[in-house]
């Protein structure tokens, strides 16, 4: 799923799911690198959203004024 449209909850759920798979060593090395990248993308998304979701929030604002 495109992180831009995720909620924190969905992002955290996906992160937890991946971490569990890594813990259980269910992933081979190729998958591992891909999944770790995904975790990093999700965490970055959450951080960005925390500090400024910018255009997205502006859009909400616009929608409310309409």
């Amino acid at each position: 799923m495109n992180p831009k449209k995720m909620t924190y909850k969905e992002a955290v759920a996906e992160i937890d799911e991946i971490l569990e798979k890594i813990e259980q060593e269910e992933l081979d090395v190729d998958e591992l690198s891909e999944k770790v990248k995904r975790v990093s993308v999700l965490i970055r998304f959450c951080k960005e959203k925390l500090h400024k979701t910018g255009a997205e929030v502006e859009n909400i604002l616009k929608e409310m004024e309409e």
Binding site: T7, Y8, K9, V12, I15, L19, I22, E23, E25, V29, L32, V36, V39, S40, I43, C46, K47, K49, L50, H51, K52, T53, V57, I60, L61, E63, M64
Partner: protein, 489 residues
């Protein structure tokens, strides 16, 4: 007869006397404040009512007054004790002097008030409201909602002028972790009789944009501790309890919790506390992200370490395997080399014989081919020679024919040119000046110049006349121009 009839004044005085006699002192009365006004002088005028609890109908009514000197003391006493402003709708227990004025009629003059009664009444009302909400089955509905991980889009219900609102917004906007909060204000009255209605209205506005918000914050900052009854309100609590987004209160008091606080998802004491709650929640989430990041990289490096160890093990095993393999192959190779060494001489001998045979056959075939080629070339050479001789002959006779043709045409041309020369010679002979002079013409010169006109001459000029065979010197004695030529000059 006249003495038997009372005047109205007499009657009213009589009634007054009866009241004074019947109620000589003060009386404690329970009543509800129906209306309340305070005039410029600080006197308080009230209408006290009694309502039937079943039908809610007013069943008794009386005017009452609190003179300013009493009101100045009673009002603060009542308000600080109950936490309620002295206003319409409250049930009070008051000590009154019953007065009857002949002109103004019955009036109760309030001398004292017992706040404990009002508090008891309010507590009872609260209990009733709570019970009713519980019976409705909605008391915990808002509490049961899940607060989003980071409530970042906040609908704020407050009075736009409240100091608490500014503190709240400032604190959110300037949080040290620089977390972004989006807030939208839905204005509502936070004090006075219209509070509950206007907060409900604001909630309805938020509800229309339900998906745009994570949380609703109801805040009322600073100011008076009064008017909490506005939040002990059944209708308002009913709306808050059933609101589909978590409601956080910061109504700004620290005594009892209001019913709205009780049904809200989370109750904070002040707007600042609400802001702190939201910020710390987001910070905790960010902290969790950081920890997750660390944990993930730790997991990754552990896993990579394991994989690396496995790889090293594998390399060692591979090296050993390869060494063994090389050894085996070397042995095999040596065996093969030995066999080849043995078999090569006989092989070479066999092939040597075959080589000699092949050389002989090749020699024969080569000679044959060379002979064929030689004859062929000889034939082609002879053909070429005879062809060349024929061509040469043909060219030679062509040239001879051309020579004769040229010679004939040159002779013709010579004869023609000779005859043309003779004619031209004759023509030249005829125009030769010597020939002309021979035919009797002469030339006349004056001072070496040929004379062409008499106009060039004067009398006495020396003339030389040239004839065919000599010159004559003469002198002009007289001359005359021809008439016909005069005009031409």
């Amino acid at each position: 007869m006249e003495s038997k009839h009372l005047t109205l004044s007499d009657l009213n005085l009589l009634i007054k006397d009866t009241f004074d006699e019947k109620f000589p002192g003060l009386v404690w009365v329970k009543a509800e404040i129906g209306e309340l006004t305070v005039n410029r002088n600080g006197h308080c005028y009230l209408e006290l009512v009694d309502t039937d609890p079943q039908s809610n109908q007013v069943i008794a009514r009386a005017r009452a007054t609190i003179w300013s000197y009493s009101f100045r003391m009673l009002k603060p006493y009542f308000e600080t004790t109950t936490g309620q402003s002295f206003a319409n709708g409250l049930k009070i227990l008051v000590s009154v002097k019953i007065e009857f004025h002949p002109l103004f009629g019955l009036s109760l003059n309030i001398r004292d008030i017992d706040p404990a009664y009002t508090m008891g009444d309010l507590a009872l009302k609260r209990k009733e409201i709570i019970l009713r909400l519980q019976q409705d089955g909605i008391f915990d509905m808002n509490k049961d909602l899940e607060l989003p991980l980071v409530p970042q889009r906040i609908a704020v219900i407050s009075s736009p002028t409240a100091a608490g609102l500014q503190d709240f917004l400032h604190q959110l906007a300037n949080n040290p972790s620089r977390i972004y909060f989006y807030t939208c204000l839905f204005p509502a009255a936070m004090q006075g009789a219209e509070t509950a209605g206007s907060v409900i209205q604001a909630l309805e506005q938020v509800y229309e944009q339900e998906t745009s918000f994570d949380v609703v914050v109801v805040i009322r900052g600073g100011g008076s501790q009064l008017d909490l009854a506005s939040f002990d309100h059944y209708e308002l609590a009913y709306h808050v309890a059933q609101f589909p987004i978590p409601v956080i209160t910061g109504i700004g008091h620290d005594k009892d919790e209001t019913i709205v606080d009780l049904v809200a998802h989370t109750k904070m004491k002040t707007p600042t506390a609400v802001a702190e709650f939201l910020i710390s929640g987001a910070e905790a989430f960010e902290q969790r992200l950081l920890e997750t990041e660390l944990y993930c990289s730790e997991l990754l490096s552990n896993r990579m370490k394991k994989e690396k160890e496995w790889l090293q093990q594998t390399v060692i095993r591979l090296k050993q395997g390869v060494r063994q393999l090389v050894k085996d192959e070397e042995h095999q190779f040596n065996m093969t080399a030995f066999r080849i060494k043995n078999s090569v001489p006989s092989f070479l001998h066999r092939h040597d014989n075959r080589f000699v045979q092949h050389r002989h056959r090749l020699q024969l075939a080569g000679l044959r081919t060379l002979g064929d080629q030689y004859h062929f070339l000889r034939r082609r050479g002879a053909d070429l020679q005879s062809l060349t001789c024929q061509l040469l002959e043909k060219r030679k006779s062509n040239i001879m024919r051309a020579q004769q043709g040229i010679r004939g045409s040159l002779n013709d041309k010579l004869k023609f040119e000779q005859s043309r020369l003779a004619v031209t010679d004759e023509k030249i002979r005829l125009v030769d000046p010597v020939q002309v002079l021979k035919r009797g013409y002469s030339l006349t010169y004056q001072s070496g110049k040929l004379v062409r006109s008499v106009n060039d001459l004067h009398e006495g000029d020396q003339l030389v006349t040239r004839l065919y065979d000599g010159d004559i010197n003469s002198k002009i004695s007289n001359f005359k121009a021809h008439e016909s030529k005069k005009n031409d000059l």
